[in-house]
Amino acid sequence: MTDKSSSDRTTHFGFQTVSESEKAGKVADVFHSVAAKYDLMNDLMSGGIHRLWKRFTIELSGVRPGNRVLDIAGGTGDLSRKFSRLVGPTGEVVLADINASMLKVGRDRLLDKGVAGNVRFVQADAEKLPFPDNHFDCITIAFGLRNVTHKEDAIASMLRVLKPGGRLLVLEFSKPGNELLSKAYDQYSFTMLPLIGRVITGDAESYRYLAESIRMHPDQDTLKGMMEEAGFARVTYHNMTGGIVALHRGIKP
C-alpha cells in the first residue's frame, strides 16, 4: 500500500489540471505579476464595488477596540487598514499573505497611509498558520480562499487559531443566482478581464486565471458545508451583487 505523494496528486489551476506541488508556484507567479497594479485593477474590474463588499465584511466582523484580528491573503491591506482603526492602540491586526510581493505592496501602502503601531505583517501559508491556538477574535480571508490548494486544511487551520466565539469571514467570488446575470458575468469575465489585464498590466494570462479560478471555486452552499464540516457553528452567507460575491460567516464554538 503506497500513499500518493503531493507531486502525483492533482488539483485545478483555473481550468487546467496541475500537480498539487505546482499550483502554489503558479498562483505565486500570478500575484507577483499583478501586485504592483493590484488596487487599480480591482477598481477597474469591479467598478469600485469591491470597496463596498469589503465595507460589509467589516460591518459583520463585530471587531471592537482591543481585539486581535488576522487578515489572511490581506493583499494591499484594504481590510487591515480599517481593522487597525477599529481595534485601536490596545488591539492588534496581523496582515498575512503567502505572496511576498503582495505583502510588500500592502506594507508600503499602509505605512504610506500612516497605519502603524498595531499592524504586523507576516508571510504565512493559510493551510499552516504560524500562530498559537485560540489566538484571534476575528479572521478574514477576502478573495484568497479560491487560490488555496487545500481549502479544507486552510479552514481547519483558521478554526484552530480562532478563539472560541471568534468569527471567520470568507469574502469570495461565488455563483450568481440569476441565469441571465450569470451569462452576462461569464461574458464579462472571459472577454473583458483578460483585456483590461493586458492593457493595464501587460498580463492577460493572470486575469484569465482569475476568471477561471472563480468558476472552479465552490458555490455558496458547498462552502457553507465545508465550514460546517470543519467545525464552525452558525454558518451563514450573504450574497452581494446578485451572488457574484458571497460573504460567509462562521463562529468557532
Binding site: 464595488i49 470597496r51 463596498l52 465595507r55 460589509f56 467589516i58 460591518e59 459583520l60 463585530g62 471592537r64 477596540p65 480599517k82 482603526r85 477599529l86 485601536g88 452581494m240 451583487t241
Partner: protein, 206 residues
C-alpha cells in the same frame, strides 16, 4: 448597498475636513471606543457613528451596544445637522434620545467648533504666499457675497411691502393672524351654542 455607498462618501468627506483641523482630530480621538446610533424613520436607516483620531467611521450595521441612540424622522435629523439653533430642534417631540446623551452633545460640540484651515492645505501645494493671496481673495469674496445677499433680501422685502404693496409687513401679518385666531374661537363658541339650542330638551330640569 446604496446606503453603504452614501456612508462611504460622507465618511471620506469628513475625514478630509478633519485632516485640516488637528484640534478636532484630537478631540475625536478622546471619544475613541464610543458608539452612537442614529436611527432615522421615513426613510428607515440606521447609522452607527464611531469616532477616532482620523474622523468618524460610519456603518449601517455594527454588532455592539451603542452608548447613545438618537431616533427621529430624516427631515428632523437634517434640520438638527444644519440648524444654527440646535437646542430648539432638540426640543421637538418627534426626537428620541436614549443612553448617555453626553456622548452626542460632545460630538455635536466638536463639529460645531470644526474650523477647516483651507489656507494651510493650499499652502502645502502652492506655498504660503500664494495660499494667503488666494485665501484673502476667497474671504473678501465670501464677505461681499454675504453683504450682497443681505442687502438684496432687504431691498426685495421693502419693495414687496412698501412700494408694490404685494405683501404685508411682519407686524401687520401678526395682528391679522391674532384677529383670525380670535374670530375662529368666537365661531367655535357660537357653533357650540347653536348645537346646544338644537338639541331636544331631555326634560332633566323639569
Amino acid at each position: 448597498m446604496p446606503s453603504r455607498l452614501l456612508l462611504a462618501g460622507v465618511e471620506r468627506s469628513l475625514a478630509l475636513a478633519i485632516s485640516q483641523d488637528p484640534l478636532t482630530a484630537q478631540r475625536l480621538a478622546a471619544m475613541y471606543g464610543r458608539v452612537i446610533l442614529i436611527r432615522s424613520s421615513a426613510p428607515t436607516m440606521s447609522i452607527y457613528v464611531l469616532p477616532d483620531d482620523q474622523g468618524l467611521s460610519l456603518f449601517s450595521h455594527y454588532e455592539a451596544e451603542p452608548d447613545c441612540t438618537l431616533s427621529a424622522p430624516a427631515s428632523l435629523l437634517a434640520r438638527l445637522a444644519l440648524s444654527s439653533d440646535r437646542q430648539q430642534v432638540l426640543k421637538d417631540g418627534q426626537l428620541e434620545l436614549s443612553g448617555d446623551t453626553q456622548v452626542l452633545v460632545q460630538l455635536q460640540n466638536i463639529f460645531a467648533d470644526l474650523q477647516i484651515d483651507g489656507e494651510a492645505a493650499l499652502a502645502r501645494w502652492l506655498g504660503p504666499v500664494a495660499a494667503h493671496a488666494i485665501g484673502s481673495l476667497a474671504r473678501s469674496g465670501r464677505d461681499w457675497l454675504g453683504g450682497s445677499r443681505r442687502s438684496l433680501q432687504q431691498s426685495v422685502a421693502e419693495y414687496l411691502t412698501e412700494e408694490g404693496q404685494q405683501l404685508v409687513g411682519r407686524a401687520e401679518a401678526d395682528t391679522a393672524a391674532a384677529r383670525i385666531h380670535e374670530l375662529r374661537l368666537q365661531l367655535d363658541r357660537l357653533d357650540a351654542r347653536v348645537q346646544r339650542l338644537l338639541q331636544p330638551d331631555n326634560g332633566s330640569d323639569a
